[in-house]
């Protein structure tokens, strides 16, 4: 029983790469191994084509990471924390650079405050700051939006996009929230039980799979009948109250909507919900 | 009847004679010493006792007749045997005592009287003192004293040739030291030593230099600080 076994990931320069998997899939374990925090029982790990144990300094000076929750020296200021971490990397950090990075993550006004006074969201942002401070090529973010409120999540997402577009960084982002990845990643992998389930471009993968769609109509029974008349080859899951629940591809939705409306039904909402587990279940069902 | 009386008379005088001789000799000793009204002297003290590792030390002694004596060291330390500090025949011979002239002996080739002195009264520390008195100078060359509380000790004196006063140039103080019972904890590790002799001989060597005799010493010098 392995936490992670034979994981091959292809992350290309400039990607925002989504590393997905349900809880316990082995995402954190993988990231910890990449960052030499824990050791594989067998096999080798390469980044930038180099063995991470043999060329550790070279590799780690080009990687910035947040592993799980970012933690700092609470009794020191944000500024000091960054300075210490940068200096530990051997990076010739200047005050200017630190303030620049703090500004980038929106913490420049609190640079003197002790980190123990920071909220979770602020710590998350500071975490990204420490991942950036030494100007790495690759940034690894382990569930960066965990514990954040919607506003916080949005800010992180925007930051990630900016890092990729404006600063040309490669980003490796782990998450168990599909829609988040959907929004910002261009490529992704889904792992489960320590192994790759599927890897590829986000758009292609999501398009190719079905999602659960809740359609709220005034006459659900009639809707079911009408849907059956289309060449919809997803499946109708259930009907609850006024809501018809189906599993459909994205491309199925517009025709279904059109059919229902043309036949006089009032469609009050079409809500696609994709949770990774369901997405997954679909995938794994297919694989089997 | 007369014969018996004569016999007793002769016996009495025979017995009495040595006593009065002893007393006479001791009076001489006292007289010599009373010439010293006061003195100030520098001393060097060397201690050779099994349980003491003490460097040689210096001090200045002051004496003023009849019984004032003190030791000053500036701020340095000094360890001086009490008996050596207080060595003064007057001490011994001022109270009531009986004395017996035991005989004579030679010390370093010089003839000495041996006098035994027993203080009367019983409340002093001294039980018995034996004095070896130089026949020619009436200076005390040796004292062996048995005390109630401090065991037995011996003083050996050497006087400068042709000295006017009975003040020694060196004194050796010998005594037996009971094994010290030092409290634990002050010095760290105590080695487990064999309980060899519970008593060990100790010697203190004192040399006296630069006597200033009868120059007058104010009483304030002897005030305890």
């Amino acid at each position: 029983m392995h936490a992670v076994a034979g994981l091959d990931l292809n992350v290309y320069e400039g990607d925002v790469f989504g590393f997905l998997g349900p809880n316990g899939a082995g995402k954190s374990t993988t990231i910890r191994m990449l960052m030499t925090l824990i050791f594989p029982t067998a096999g080798e790990i390469k980044l930038f084509g180099k063995d991470i144990y043999k060329e550790r300094k070279y590799i780690l000076s080009r990687v910035g990471a947040i592993v799980e929750k970012p933690d700092f020296y609470g009794y020191l200021s944000a500024y000091k924390n960054l300075e210490i971490l940068a200096r530990t990397s051997g990076y010739p950090v200047t005050k200017k650079r630190i303030m620049e990075i703090l500004e980038m993550v929106g913490l420049d006004k609190r640079y003197k405050s002790k980190v123990k006074t920071f909220s979770h969201g602020m710590k998350q942002r500071l975490g990204i700051a420490q991942a950036l401070i030494h100007d790495p090529q690759l940034i690894i973010l382990d569930e960066p939006t965990t514990g954040l409120d919607p506003q916080g999540m949005k800010e992180i997402r925007e930051l990630v996009i900016s890092l990729s577009k404006d600063h040309k960084k490669t980003i490796f982002l782990s998450s168990h929230i599909l829609y988040e990845v959907e929004m910002i990643a261009n490529r992704m992998v889904i792992i489960n039980k320590g192994q790759t389930v599927i890897e590829g471009s986000v758009n292609e993968l999501l398009d190719a799979t079905e999602a659960r769609v809740n359609i709220e109509v005034d006459d659900p029974q009639k809707a079911v009948q009408l849907i059956g008349e289309t060449n919809f080859n997803g499946k109708i899951d259930s009907v609850t109250g006024n809501t018809v629940i189906l599993f459909a591809h994205k491309s199925d939705i517009a025709p279904i909507n059109k059919k229902l409306v043309e036949n006089g039904l009032a469609v009050s909402s079409i809500v696609p919900t994709r949770s990774l587990e369901e997405y997954f279940l679909n995938l794994t069902e297919k694989v089997e | 009847m007369l014969k018996r009386q004569l016999f007793f008379f002769i016996l009495l005088t025979l017995v009495a004679l040595p006593q009065s001789d002893g007393a006479k000799i001791l009076e001489q000793v006292k007289k010599k010493f009373s010439a010293v009204k006061d003195y100030e002297v520098d001393v060097k003290i060397k201690i050779d006792v099994e349980f003491l590792k003490v460097p040689d030390n210096d001090a200045t002694l002051y004496y003023k007749a009849p019984d004032k004596v003190t030791m000053k060291t500036g701020d340095k330390f000094a360890l001086m045997p009490k008996e050596g500090l207080n060595f003064n025949p007057s001490n011994l011979l001022n109270g009531k005592y009986t004395s017996v002239l035991e005989g004579e002996a030679k010390i370093n080739g010089k003839p000495h009287y041996i006098a035994k002195v027993i203080p009367l009264g019983g409340d002093g520390n001294v039980v018995l003192s034996t004095l070896w008195i130089d026949k020619s100078t009436y200076y005390i060359t040796r004292v062996e004293t048995t005390t109630k509380n401090s065991g037995t000790f011996q003083l050996d004196m050497v006087y400068p040739a042709n000295s006017k006063y009975p003040l020694p140039s060196s004194m050796t103080f010998s005594f037996e030291v009971g094994k010290f019972n030092f409290p634990k904890g002050f010095g760290g590790n105590k080695k487990e030593k064999d309980a060899s002799s519970s008593k060990a001989p100790g010697k203190v060597y004192i040399t006296y230099k630069n006597y200033k005799i009868n120059k007058g010493i104010p009483d304030s010098v002897f005030k305890k600080k």
Binding site: R32, M35, T36, L37, F39, R56, K57, L60, S61, A65, V67, E68, K69, P70, D71, F72, Y73, G74, Y75, L76, I84, L85, R87, T88, S89, G90 | E50, F51, L52, K53, V54, P55, N57, A59, M71, K72, T73, D75, K76, F77, A78, L79, M80, P81, K82, L85, S150, F153, F175, V177, F180, N181, F182, P183, F186, G187, G188, N189, K190, K191
Partner: protein
């Protein structure tokens, strides 16, 4: 490496708990010196009662040197405890704070990180002992003046004034070494756990248990005594005899150095392959 050591020292000295050590030492020294001021005469009389039947004493025996000597007794328990407060926190503290993740993912080797921490710990330990020396000797001499030092073991020693300082310097040196043993043990425990309390308590527990065992007069335990490092923690006292047993001194230095190398070596060895899950 200098940079890393500087960072570690900065982290140590920005924690208020570091200052507990220095403040406590100052308090201990003050308490001892004040008590001696008040009770000193009685104490000396008690110590020298055997001698005073035969000798007359003169001298300033309530001086800075005597105070400093007494203070060194604190090296048995108090100073080790104060040292574990910091040394025990060096690695465990990172785990508690969660900052291991930040540190070990930096482009430095784990060895470099550990070495920097060990050097910082050494500096701290030596600073503590130096501070002890400064406060007790320095302040002691200023307040009480100089004089002769009485040391009582199975022999009563009196050291003359010019024969004392060099002994103290060597004693402090050896004391530093002894405290380094404590540091290295606390450091070792610190590398194994995720909370600083563990190493602090364990190190002190080991010290106290060893002390207790060494004082039980059972043959088996007494034969183990040379192997317990606590036996050598008082070896600074060897300099306060005459003649100084150099072979004993070197032996103490050797045994303690071996302990230090052992604990640090073990720490380095185990830490290299440790999975950081905190």
């Amino acid at each position: 490496m200098t940079g890393l050591v500087g960072i570690e020292l900065y982290k140590i000295f920005r924690k208020w708990r570091t200052y507990i050590g220095f403040i406590t030492i100052a308090v201990i020294v003050l308490v001892i010196e004040i008590s001696m001021l008040i009770e000193g005469e009685n104490y000396l009389r008690f110590l020298t009662r055997n001698l005073s039947s035969i000798f007359v004493f003169e001298g300033n025996f309530l001086n800075g040197y005597v105070m400093s000597y007494l203070v060194m007794g604190a090296l048995a328990i108090h100073i080790p405890f104060l040292i574990t407060l910091v040394s025990g926190d060096l690695l465990a503290g990172e785990a508690t704070a969660g900052t291991y993740r930040m540190l070990i993912t930096r482009p430095i080797t784990r060895m470099q990180l550990l070495t920097a921490k060990v050097i910082a710990a050494t500096i701290y330990t030596n600073l503590m002992v130096a501070f002890l020396g400064f406060i007790s000797l320095g302040l002691g001499v200023v307040l009480f003046g100089t004089g002769e030092l009485i040391v009582i073991k199975d022999v009563l020693f009196i050291f003359s004034q010019d024969d004392i300082l060099w002994r103290f310097f060597i004693a402090y040196g050896i004391a530093s070494l002894s405290m380094m043993v404590v540091t290295s043990m606390a450091f070792f425990f610190s590398s194994l756990v995720e909370n600083a309390i563990g190493p602090i308590v364990s190190t002190m527990a080991v010290i106290i248990v060893f002390y207790i065992l060494s004082n039980i007069n059972v043959e088996l335990l007494q034969s183990l005594k040379p192997y317990m490092f606590t036996t050598y923690m008082q070896s600074w006292n060897i300099v306060f005899t005459d003649p100084v047993e150099m072979s004993e001194l070197w032996n103490a230095v050797l045994v303690q150095s071996i302990h230090i190398v052992f604990f640090l070596g073990l720490t380095f060895y185990l830490f290299r392959k440790k999975d950081i899950t905190s």
